[in-house]
């Protein structure tokens, strides 16, 4: 039995983040892996021993302070879960909250969890459009981005990939997302997992291994790959 924990889903699901949950649940079910979804509500405490897959999505701007305050109280639980073999997938606002802080236009600061060495600075424009990212080892990632924050990785933080089309973390350094042991952060929604099933399976495999299971059985991903190829074409065509 693996446990998926969407964090504050009532506030953090603006870009159809529940699609990521759906994909994980289905890809587990199709393989006969028992799975349960246990959302973490505001004010609740994460159980690091129970949570295998922790999903932190994006929210409306006005809710972000509320979310940041709540999430910071869970930093040690999140850290303990990851150290114990759990994974975190953080998208958009969730990605920013992995970092140390979000610096606003007027020197105001919103503190993040600091789980990953990165920080975000408010930009003057929103970076919006289709994205194509090269993640190395022949893997690509497609989706859509829509963010005002510019995120910069610390010198030892690895990106998730390099931008082929789109803006990525900040529109300047060509990097997209972040990767740390047990943690994936990205601006790419769409949602992320349907068209990037290899990321879903990487997360599932780690969760299954944590619960003593073996390798994942392959699935027929023809439709996933067809949709991903279409999205990649569109991203290349509208290269901004």
């Amino acid at each position: 039995m693996i446990t998926i924990v969407p964090v504050y889903p009532s506030l953090l699901s603006i870009y159809a983040d529940r699609g990521n949950v759906r994909v994980l649940v289905q890809r587990a079910a199709w393989r006969g892996i028992a799975v349960r979804v246990e959302p973490l509500g505001l004010g609740e405490t994460l159980d690091p021993a129970r949570a295998d897959l922790i999903l932190i999505g994006g929210g409306q701007d006005r809710d972000q302070l509320l979310v940041a305050d709540a999430l910071r109280t869970q930093t040690s639980q999140l850290r303990a879960a990851v150290d114990d073999g759990a994974s975190i997938l953080a998208v958009c606002g969730g990605f920013q909250l992995l970092g140390h802080r979000y610096r606003g236009h007027h020197g105001d600061e919103m503190l993040g969890t600091g789980l990953v060495d990165l920080e975000t600075i408010a930009g003057d424009t929103r970076l919006i459009g289709n994205v194509l990212v090269d993640c190395g080892e022949g893997r690509t990632m497609v989706g859509f981005e829509n963010h005002a924050g510019r995120t910069f990785l610390g010198s030892d933080t690895r990106p998730l990939g390099s931008v082929v089309a789109g803006a990525g973390n900040n529109g300047a350094d060509g990097l997209e997302g972040c990767r740390a042991p047990g943690i994936i952060g990205t601006y790419v929604h769409g949602p992320l997992l349907p068209k990037n099933p290899w990321i879903a399976d990487e997360l599932l495999a780690r969760a299954v291994a944590r619960r003593g299971g073996g390798a994942l059985a392959p699935l027929d991903d023809a439709l996933e790959l067809q949709a991903a190829a279409g999205a990649a074409r569109i991203a290349r065509a509208e290269r901004r």
Partner: protein, 453 residues
């Protein structure tokens, strides 16, 4: 000829030339030309309408609501309207420059983002604000930004302006705070309430204190009888309530507005909202309440929002989908028909549809589509919508991708078999393509189509 009149005449000529040459663009071109020649054209022309101007905006239903309100008012008062879809500043200017000579009242549907500018220029006599749903975030930024712009707009409206607000939407209801002349419209009928808030729900925290909102009844998305569990803020008392709503499937519904019986030929709870809003606006503009309620029965759906197209011995039913809340309502309306039926989903990602198609993952396809006999997926994002269906438990054998919408339309009709119906759910530009296909095929429409005014 005075200079302004000459400029207006030139803009009108441009519009009719564009229409006659078959190039289209006649709905916004004259307005764009006129605004370039005379930037204050809207103010000047609106001021000439003796009974003023009313504006209608919302995420979902503004075209239907404006058309319905016009149908309720038109017999009493000649109305100048903009064409469906031509709802930016230029579309309003085009409508004003080509207004019928007898027009006394302007009634315009306005895009959510263009509304503050149009309102500031016109100083409307009445503004009807319906719902605010998440819609095309890539184009418009987030819901919050629109709500903030609407707040600033309302603060600058003349005190005499009547606001007709959807009280069931917490973001919209809040716009009435501190104002006089507010008409609050909403539903009051537990028999049509949902079991709870759907996944796609927006605005579920209190505007004042941030606590979670509690719903005594949810009617559609986040619309309903809401209150804050903490600070006591809640839905304002309804000025116009829709009650005793009795849905009659695709045939529409009967309901009471303000206690007066009305029949509505448009299906779905969302159209009960549209009818209540249109009724309240018409009454606020002087139509007698009994008359307004009576006239609702004679109204049919605006072109493209809901259509039945006869195709030989079978039929296509088209329902526009453009965001999660609207799509969930379309599915809810069609659920009995979709069971065992043929469905065609056409997902485009052009600018008018929204470039970001992630919204399809917030639609509750799971609840309805697995029961369909066959699902055909089409459009510029055909594979995306097919993938969504796969994860909604539509069996692969019942699912197929036909990228070209015209071919997909034919395929869905073929699957529908003699005497059967294909249920077609297209996004906005896909709807336009399908209409062209139907026209090119010479298919007749048994129900009347509304012409752009």
């Amino acid at each position: 000829m005075p200079l302004f009149a000459a400029k207006a005449a030139a803009a009108r000529t441009l519009g009719s030339l564009s229409r006659r040459s078959g190039r289209g663009g006649g709905t916004t071109l004259p307005g764009r030309a006129l605004l370039r020649l005379a930037p204050d054209a809207i103010e000047r022309m609106a001021a000439r309408l003796p009974d003023g101007v009313a504006l209608v905006s919302a995420t979902n239903g503004k075209t239907t609501t404006a058309a319905l309100a016009a149908a309720l008012i038109q017999p009493d008062l000649a109305v100048c309207r903009n064409a469906a879809g031509a709802n930016l500043t230029s579309g309003v200017a085009s409508a004003l420059v080509s207004r019928p000579a007898a027009a006394r009242l302007g009634l315009f549907e306005v895009d959510e983002f263009a509304l503050p500018e149009v309102a500031a220029r016109i100083g409307p006599r009445a503004v009807l604000l319906g719902n605010l749903f998440r819609d095309q975030l890539d184009r418009y930024g987030e819901l919050e930004l629109i709500a903030r712009r609407w707040r600033e707009m309302v603060d600058r409206l003349p005190v005499t302006t009547t606001l007709v607000l959807c009280a069931d939407d917490p973001l919209v209801a809040a716009l009435g705070e501190g104002r006089e002349n507010v008409v609050y419209v909403g539903l009051d009928d537990p028999s049509v309430a949902l079991a709870g808030l759907p996944h796609a729900a927006d605005s579920i925290t209190c505007r004042r204190c941030g606590a979670a909102l509690v719903y005594d009844a949810v009617y559609l998305g986040h619309l309903g009888a809401w209150r804050c569990g903490d600070c006591g803020t809640g839905r304002p008392p309804l000025t116009v309530a829709a009650t005793e709503i009795r849905p009659r499937g695709l045939a529409g519904s009967s309901l009471r507005l303000d206690g007066r019986p009305a029949t509505l030929a448009l299906p779905g709870i969302y159209n009960a909202y549209n009818a209540a809003g249109a009724y309240a606006l018409a009454v606020a503009l002087g139509v007698a309440p009994e008359t307004a309620a009576d006239r609702i029965g004679g109204f049919r759906a605006p072109f493209g929002r809901f259509e039945r197209i006869a195709a030989g011995d079978r039929e296509a039913v088209l329902l526009l989908i453009k965001n999660p809340a609207g799509a969930n309502e379309a599915l809810r309306t069609l659920a009995p028909q979709i069971t065992g039926g043929v469905v065609l989903l056409v997902l485009n990602d052009r600018i008018a549809d929204g470039r970001d198609v992630s919204w399809i993952w917030d639609v509750d396809f799971e609840d309805v589509l697995p029961a369909a006999r066959h699902v055909v997926c089409s459009g510029t994002r055909a594979a995306d919508i097919a993938l969504r269906c796969r994860y909604a438990d539509v069996e692969p054998a019942r699912l197929e991708v036909v990228v070209d919408p015209a071919a997909a339309f034919d395929r869905a009709l073929a699957l529908a078999e003699a005497g059967g119906t294909a249920y077609v759910l297209p996004t906005y530009t896909a709807m336009l393509e399908l209409q062209r296909t139907a026209t090119a095929r010479g298919l007749v429409r048994p129900y009347w189509e509304e012409r752009a005014p």
